[in-house]
Structures are given as structure tokens and as C-alpha cells.
């Protein structure tokens, strides 16, 4: 009888623990980002043709030319990409070299987007079917990768860049340059 009572208390404690865990997890904000598993790895090999006439295309060798860069993954049809445009320009003003990959897009739409929101990019690759995006482990637009001079991915920013992200990205760029 005494054994049974102990066993029942055991059940109560286990149940309280499990429900406590449920309650705790339900109150935690959910991280909906799917991060790339390639941060810290070399960039996979690729060669994308030019998206627009005014800028050359982008290949993995362009990203391993000894200079750390930002690589922005964007699309003309993506509204947060338009929202982050002023901050990309700010990053460029502060000396960041920015290249871009345009996802599932057309030259006319990208030209119109750049005309409207500015063009801080030195190169723009045409990734019509997300092939490079998938090989980068990028889960959407916009995203910004920091690439060290030897082509190593050192940082991934998911979502649009806001004012508070500008110093963070500049700092990551400095760290990548020192590598």
C-alpha cells in the first residue's frame, strides 16, 4: 500500500514536469528561421549569368578574390527587399562591397526595381530557378551573407536589414576581412 502511494506520487511528479515543460515551451517565442548549415564553410561552386545589362554576373570565384563582401539574396517581387534598400545603400556608403543574387526574376522587373530603390550592387547573378539559393541553404528573400576573402561564409542575416542591423553587418564584415 505504501509502495503504491509512492508510485502514485511519482506519476504526479512526472505529469507535473511534462505539463510544466509544455507550458514553458508554449510561452517561448518560436524561431521560424531555417538557418543555413553552410555558415563556416566554403561557398559552393557556381557561376550565374548577369541579370541586368548594367552589372556583370556572379560566380563563386568572384567571391574568393581576397576581399570580404556582403552577398544579398533578393528579388524584385519581394516587398521586404524594397524596405531594406536604404540600409544596403547605407552599408555601401560605409564601405561595404555588395554583390547580389536575384531569385526567380526577370531582367525588366529587376531593372525597374533598381531604378526605383537604388543599386548598391557591383554584381548581380541571375538565379532563375533558385539553384544557387538552395545550394547556399538560403530559405527565402531577402537574406544577406557575409563572405570572407577566401570564399568562406562567415555570417547569415535572415530577413530584411533594419537600421540596427547595419553596425552588426559592418562588424561581421570587418571580422571576415581580418580572417
Amino acid at each position: 500500500m505504501r509502495n503504491l502511494r509512492f508510485a502514485l506520487w511519482g506519476v504526479v511528479i512526472v505529469a507535473a514536469f511534462v505539463f510544466g515543460l509544455f507550458g514553458y515551451q508554449l510561452t517561448q517565442p518560436k524561431d521560424e528561421f531555417v538557418r543555413s548549415a553552410l555558415v563556416g564553410e566554403r561557398i559552393p561552386e557556381f557561376a550565374l549569368p548577369a541579370m541586368v545589362e548594367s552589372r556583370p554576373g556572379l560566380s563563386s570565384t568572384d567571391l574568393a578574390d581576397g576581399e570580404a563582401k556582403l552577398m544579398n539574396v533578393f528579388a524584385s517581387w519581394c516587398i521586404p527587399c524594397a524596405a531594406e534598400a536604404p540600409y544596403l545603400e547605407e552599408l555601401e556608403r560605409q564601405g561595404a562591397q555588395i554583390v547580389a543574387v536575384a531569385i526567380t526574376d526577370t531582367p525588366e522587373d529587376v531593372d525597374r526595381f533598381l531604378l526605383q530603390h537604388g543599386n548598391p550592387f557591383t554584381r548581380i547573378g541571375d538565379d532563375r530557378i533558385s539553384e544557387v539559393q538552395l545550394s547556399l541553404g538560403s530559405s527565402g528573400v531577402p537574406e544577406t551573407f557575409v563572405i570572407a576573402g577566401d570564399g568562406t561564409i562567415t555570417y547569415q542575416h535572415i530577413g530584411d536589414i533594419r537600421a540596427s542591423d547595419v553596425p552588426v553587418l559592418m562588424e561581421e564584415l570587418r571580422k571576415a576581412q581580418g580572417q
Binding site: T104, R128, G140
Partner: protein
């Protein structure tokens, strides 16, 4: 009034601007010519998570990203890669999260071990109870 209605209609059409004008990838909505390969691809696509619409498999989703992922799966399988190799390629990019197929790993092994342990405990408890009751009944008779 008519102008107001027109403006309102225009406002409601705004989400349409958030759509790509580029055509979908060739194998996003097109099956492979070889039915055996298509079957392999379809089976795999049902167990891969769409990255932008995370509660759907890429076979179920109409998101452009899911279409592009289906294109990757189909072209890779058509090129002779095994479904598990394609899955491994995606997992190496996005982590286990991209796959719906459960795997036993450093963080998931308790899910596989605990039911076994609970079953074992249940069997032991049951055997002890049943084992105890028989002699008691024997004494009473």
C-alpha cells in the same frame, strides 16, 4: 463613389505585386518522363519540407520555392542520384529540419529509446503482479 471602389479594388490587388513574373522552373509542375524515376521523386518530395511554407511538404505546396525544390529533386533523380543522396544534399544545406523522415541522432535518440524503456517497465510490472497473484489464489483455494 465609382472612383472610390476602383481605388479600393486597386488596394486589394496589391498582394499580386508580390508575385514573380518569371516562369516556374521546368520540372516544378512537370513530371519526369520515366514513371519509375517520377515515382521515386514523388515519394521523396512528400518527405521534404517546404522551406518558406514550413508546415507543408514540397509536393503539397504551391510556393515558388517549393516548385524550385521539386525541380532540383526531379533533375537530380533524373541524373541518376538516389533519393537518399538528394535528401542528404538538402540536409547538408538546411539541417535535419528540411526532412520529414525521422532519423535517430544525438538530439532525437530519446524519442526512440524511451518508448522501449516504458514498454519494458510495463512488462516487468505486469509480470510481477500476475506472478504474485497466482500463489495467493492458490493459498485461498
Amino acid at each position: 463613389m465609382r472612383l472610390l471602389a476602383a481605388l479600393l479594388a486597386l488596394l486589394m490587388a496589391a498582394p499580386l505585386a508580390a508575385q514573380s513574373n518569371a516562369p516556374p522552373a521546368p520540372y516544378a509542375y512537370q513530371q519526369l518522363e520515366d514513371p519509375a524515376l517520377e515515382e521515386q521523386a514523388t515519394e521523396l518530395m512528400h518527405t521534404l519540407r517546404c522551406i518558406t511554407c514550413q508546415s507543408q511538404s514540397i509536393a503539397d505546396s504551391d510556393a515558388p520555392m517549393a516548385g524550385n525544390m521539386r525541380h532540383q529533386v526531379r533533375t537530380r533523380i533524373a541524373n541518376g542520384e538516389s533519393p537518399e543522396a538528394v535528401r542528404a544534399w538538402l540536409v547538408s544545406r538546411y539541417g535535419d529540419y528540411v526532412s520529414y523522415e525521422p532519423v535517430a541522432s544525438a538530439s532525437t535518440w530519446p524519442l526512440f529509446v524511451i518508448p522501449g524503456i516504458l514498454l519494458l517497465i510495463a512488462v516487468i510490472v505486469l509480470l510481477r503482479r500476475v506472478g504474485r497473484r497466482v500463489p495467493v489464489e492458490g493459498e485461498g483455494a
